[in-house]
Symmetry: C2
Subunit: 290 residues, 2 copies
């Protein structure tokens, strides 16, 4: 029997609707939720992405300001711009589009973002708070993966979870959040000697590598929950292109109990998590957390 | 054949000697290494520990100042004290003895310690930098465990490592540092369903639970490297007391390839790591990192 699909788009829509309701309540109390996004350099892809992000915010009542900064901005100038936004009481959230021009040091700049306004959860201190079990704001992609696991109703506490891919943005924070939820987590990566040994025993399998077809049916446990964080564009024999994950969906779905499609799984939920984090930052900022 | 002992005391002595040499070089350049320790409330155990710490520092040429603060100090006052020390150019390192009185929020205060002066590596941002692979200063106990593994010459990259115990101070940072060293790490804890399943396949086994006898010979892989972070005081049948780890040393040593004794393993090395971190903070402060 094929797995149940984890419908990321539907779950994201529900989450956005909940965020919208709360944003409206805050607005009625006189509190405006206001996200400022920094875009350094005029890269087209970044501008398009930022435009869509702005639309997603405004659609649910969040003010969105895009600060376009020149590619020639110095580390010091950008640091001061972030500090100015930290101090601006009308700004409730700050995010910085990546990549930055190569002369800028992204981790040092992310550290400058006020931990409370850090809607992407990328300030190292916010990752550290996750390690410490005092999570303020966690990274969006990691939250997305964990929320989709929760949506299945499968018990995370005590589950054998295997995360494949140890990136800063996905694999590592996902493993930390799953540990926080009391799963027994194994974090695999490029140096792992016998990857299948681990994936085959995973009750919860999260794959975040960026390699189409990495996970085949023989690599997964019967009844596993599978979250595919990979987003890969591949060329089909007829020359058209298609977006796929790291898991061979059509075959693996017959072994999994629940599986995310790509597209339509982790991707849309990550956008919803950014919006939920933006609300969370505002609640912390206004001191209105419930 | 019994395992080779990992002589934490000897390795610690060597590390201290290296730190001493470099502290002397810095002193000759006119740079004084100066650690300020904060002790809140007059707890006797804390004062004794602080006194020994001061002796360890002075023995290798590090200036040590103990600031005793009243148990009634407020969060705000302590925060300002930390900020004052952050701004004081003659202070190269800051640490805060725990536990704090219950009205104080330790994680928030640790976050106030300048990341460069944070010799214990407890600022959440420093843990976050470990996650991000930009380690500035890592927590001492975790460094101690990893340095003792390195001392064996066993290859960490690609090794199957199992960490038992997911505490903030030991298990979690140890698993992060081992991941940084490219081991495949499984982090086990109280909710792990089948602990032995994991410990039995561990090429590197780190145990940090605080439970005497937790690890028996049948729980370990032949030839494993075993690091025992546990420190437990137990009563012997004759009424005397003894310090033991979490691993049943006398039996397990016949299966391991390398094993730390307790006492004399992780403990002394942790003190050496605090001193090495204190040097590291000073190097970062003076901009003299080699």
């Amino acid at each position: 029997m094929p797995a149940q699909l984890i419908d990321g788009a539907a779950i994201a829509a529900r989450t956005k609707s909940e965020v919208q309701t709360r944003v409206r309540e805050l607005t009625n109390l006189g509190h405006r939720v206001h996200l400022v996004a920094l875009l350094v350099g005029g890269i087209d892809a970044g501008a398009l992405y930022a435009q869509r992000q702005g639309e997603a915010c405004r659609a649910i009542g969040i003010d969105y300001t895009l600060h376009k900064l020149p590619a020639t901005i110095t580390q010091k100038e950008l640091k001061h711009e972030i500090r100015r936004l930290n101090a601006d009481a009308s700004v409730t959230g700050i995010m910085m589009h990546l990549p930055l021009p190569s002369h800028l040091d992204a981790p040092r700049l992310q550290y400058e973002i006020d931990v409370v306004k850090d809607v992407e959860g990328v300030n190292p201190a916010n990752i550290g708070y996750v390690v410490y079990g005092h999570t303020l704001i966690a990274p969006c992609t990691a939250l997305s993966a964990v929320e989709l696991i929760k949506s299945t109703g499968v018990r995370i506490e005590g589950a054998e979870a295997v995360v494949v891919g140890a990136s800063q943005i996905a694999g590592k924070p996902i493993s930390l959040l799953l540990t926080e939820q009391m799963a027994t987590v194994t974090l695999c990566h490029i140096a792992t000697k016998d990857l299948k040994l681990h994936t085959r025993r995973a009750e919860i399998l999260v794959v975040a590598v960026g390699k189409p077809g990495l996970i085949q049916p023989e690599d997964v446990l019967d009844g596993a929950v599978i979250i595919d964080v990979g987003i890969n564009r591949i060329a089909l024999p007829d020359g058209t292109k298609k977006t796929v994950g790291d898991v061979e969906f059509d075959t693996v779905r017959h072994k999994a109990s629940h599986i995310t499609p790509v597209p339509g799984g982790v991707g849309p939920m990550t956008v919803a998590m950014l919006l939920r984090n933006t609300l969370r930052s505002a609640e912390l900022h206004f001191g209105t957390t419930k």
